[in-house]
């Protein structure tokens, strides 16, 4: 290989092919994926995030939650995500078109969060639960190594006032002490709104039919 030009052209062609073959093709296929209209009640899925939940997405992003949490449910037969109640079904590409930034993640030091807002799967996980989890993780999830996000909360002295209606109630040893209240900041409220919005309740018929396992693969006779 004496020829610098051949080296340059080869290097150029390889990356150009990879870019066109992988990224452009995928963009061609998925770039215009649209919402699915449920024929029974004309609702479009996935439903868009509310404004405050989208603010919360930015908090999720800047705190680096993606370092420990995935947001992808692997389909039935590949891992036990569904058995762990991380989703009603495996995730599809269409679920993510509502997300301005997609955090599918690659580490599960913590549980998957794709359906963390689904009260159907986790009836206990209401907004109060998430506030407690963020302020004092051990109060709701004993033994977790999730850090406390105390900086997302204001601890006020009550000084004789009525407590704020937004103050969170903490069990004994996690409470800041008598005469104090813990109030979530706007960032905490946005983050919790985002977490509560994470759910994929609707099963798209197109995807379900296309992804049905081939008959002879596994327990085909049901």
């Amino acid at each position: 290989m004496k020829n610098g030009l051949a080296l340059f052209l080869g290097a150029f062609v390889i990356l150009a092919l990879s870019w066109a073959g992988l990224l452009l093709t995928a963009h061609q296929q998925l770039g215009s994926l649209s919402q699915y209209k449920d024929p029974t009640d004309d609702v479009l899925y996935p439903q868009p995030l509310s404004g405050v939940a989208d603010q919360g997405r930015l908090v999720y992003q800047d705190l680096g939650c993606v370092s420990c949490h995935t947001q992808q449910v692997r389909h039935e037969g590949f891992g036990s995500d569904i058995e762990r109640k991380w989703g009603l079904r495996g995730s599809y590409a269409r679920d993510y078109i509502r997300d301005n930034t997609v955090f599918i993640g690659q580490s599960r030091l913590g549980p998957d969060l794709r359906n963390t807002g689904s009260l159907e799967l986790h009836p206990y996980a209401d907004a109060e639960y998430f506030y407690k989890l963020l302020y004092a993780p051990h109060s709701v999830a004993p033994g977790t190594n999730m850090p406390a996000y105390t900086f997302l909360f204001d601890v006020h002295p009550l000084a004789g006032r009525q407590p704020s209606d937004k103050a969170i109630s903490l069990p004994g040893k996690y409470a800041p002490g008598a005469g104090y209240e813990v109030v979530p900041t706007l960032r905490a409220r946005a983050l919790v709104a985002y977490l509560m919005s994470l759910k994929d309740p609707f099963d798209y018929p197109t995807e379900r039919n296309l992804n049905a396992a081939a008959a002879p693969a596994k327990e085909g006779a049901h």
Binding site: K2, F8, A11, L23, D62, T70, R94, Q106, A141, P147
Partner: protein, 488 residues
């Protein structure tokens, strides 16, 4: 013959003199980032088994420290070290001086300011949360401007070469110099400037991350291996006629292998399948490269005892083979089903970046720096400390994280095990990792001290001057045959 030798000799001295300050600046900043990144990495690792450690402040929460550490190591240590080594080797092999080196200072300033701002951005709430692209948007142009000067220098140096032939190391360096800015610019445009929709973002991200490891760090490490083996052993690469095939096949398949990071993800299944096939095809070049490099070493393993560069390069080659095997294993669906999303996923990238690339750069630094400064390494103990901590750390962390990931994956896939129990099991392994990282950090500090002694004008007075022998000419393994070939 003597006159040409003298020419070669003086020219090399000129080259080393022209490269001295740019390369020293790049190596110096690389080592500082190595220490800073290592410290951040240690903090993040400690936070996993002691979650209250530095948790009260937004700047030091795990989700920010961990990516900051990763970015400091990749863009601070990795890129700076690769620039230093790449520029020096490109100048040497092209037999031309690095001209107008002052611009490279400017480039180094740009690059390091960019990385610093980027890290502050990650720690101070501007992270983008895209793997290895966490730095906020505003540093992109600073980094690209810095890189433009460095990359243009490497390519210009190559194109004004005074040699008739182009050696394998130059293919890898030239390719890497060309691929990095392309990968980086496209990823920035498709993820941050004009973001693509939905799951296309992870696809672009995986393409970039895989490209950065496979088309930048691995080629730079292989350039070092292909150069230093014949350079120090005085023996040509075995079966060299296969090296070009291996090069094209390696980069051609690596470019398509990014999808293998998305097995089981909600992306079209053909993307991960294509990635798995590409990783499978990589077996061919890995076998050829192993034949090249181990074939050259065979019969000469005793030389490892007396050459620190060769020792590091040897670890690097082992790291390359191991990382490739790991990559292949992780693209097997049955295996990925267990170990993806575990500590084993981190291990794959760490093997490429640390066991393969970083060790190659250590080896290169031990060879290059005395030639630039004209001084010897002052402390043998520190050199040995560096090597043994590195080797020990690589073995400990590889074995430990592999075992941890395997266990973690099986627990994750057993839905009857509550999540808290998995964390309890992993606490032991997190502590283990912290210890491994401390071991590595000790070696890096030893390296830093020796570097200061050899390179810092104020501190290097007591360091003895180096004297180099004129290296002999390499001879063909079979002269009679070569002669006939040459005439034909």
């Amino acid at each position: 013959m003597n006159s040409t030798d003298n020419n070669a000799r003086t020219e090399q001295m000129e080259i080393d003199a022209s490269a001295k300050w740019p390369v020293l600046v790049f190596f110096g900043s690389a080592i500082l980032w190595l220490i800073a990144g290592g410290a951040l990495q240690l903090i993040a690792s400690i936070q996993l088994h002691t979650p209250s450690f530095l948790a009260g402040c937004a700047w030091t929460t795990y989700g920010r420290v961990a990516p900051a550490a990763q970015n400091a190591l990749i863009y601070g240590w990795g890129m700076n070290a690769a620039f230093a080594f790449g520029l020096w080797l490109m100048a040497r092999l092209s037999a031309t001086t690095l001209r107008h080196g002052g611009w490279l200072f400017v480039a180094a300033k740009f690059w390091n300011i960019g990385v610093t701002l980027g890290l502050l951005g990650i720690l101070g709430r501007f992270s983008t949360s895209f793997e290895l692209l966490e730095m906020p948007r505003f540093v992109t142009l600073i980094l690209l401007a810095g890189y433009a000067m460095i990359g243009v220098w490497a390519v210009t140096t190559f194109s004004i070469r005074n040699t008739e032939n182009v050696y394998a190391s130059q293919w890898y360096l030239f390719g890497a110099a060309f691929w990095f800015p392309w990968l980086y610019a496209i990823a920035q445009i498709m993820l941050l400037k004009a973001p693509v929709r939905g799951v296309l973002q992870p696809v672009v991200n995986a393409w970039y991350v895989h490209g950065l490891y496979g088309l930048w760090f691995i080629p730079v490490a292989l350039a070092a291996a292909y150069y230093f083996l014949p350079k120090i052993l005085g023996k040509p690469i075995a079966n060299y006629y296969l090296a070009a095939l291996a090069f094209w096949w390696l980069v051609g398949t690596t470019a398509f292998a990014g999808g293998s990071r998305l097995i089981g993800a909600p992306v079209p299944v053909w993307i991960s399948t294509l990635g798995a096939v590409a990783n499978f095809l990589l077996v061919v070049p890995v076998v050829v490269i192993a034949l090249n490099l181990f074939g050259t070493l065979s019969g000469r393993y005793s030389a490892l005892q007396s050459s620190i560069t060769l020792r590091f390069i040897f670890v690097s080659i082992l790291g390359f083979v191991l990382a490739s095997a790991f990559n292949l294993a992780l693209s097997m669906r049955g295996f990925a089903q267990v170990v993806q999303f575990t500590l084993m996923t981190d291990l794959r990238d760490w093997l490429i970046f640390y066991a393969c690339f970083s060790t190659a750069m250590f080896g290169a630094a031990y060879f290059i720096l005395p030639r630039l400064t004209g001084k010897e390494w002052r402390s043998t103990i520190l050199v040995k400390t560096h090597f043994f901590t590195t080797a020990l750390g690589v073995v400990l962390l590889t074995a430990g994280l592999a075992a941890a990931g395997w266990q973690q994956g099986h627990l994750l896939n057993d839905a009857t095990v509550p999540f808290g129990d998995i964390t309890k099991v992993l606490t032991f392994w997190f502590t283990f990792r912290s210890i491994g990282l401390i071991v590595l950090l000790i070696g890096h500090l030893a390296f830093l001290i020796n570097f200061v002694w050899i390179a810092c004008p104020l501190n290097s007075r007591g360091t003895p001057l180096a004297s180099f022998h004129q290296p002999p000419d390499l001879s063909l393994p079979n002269p009679a045959k070569a002669a006939t070939e040459g005439h034909a």
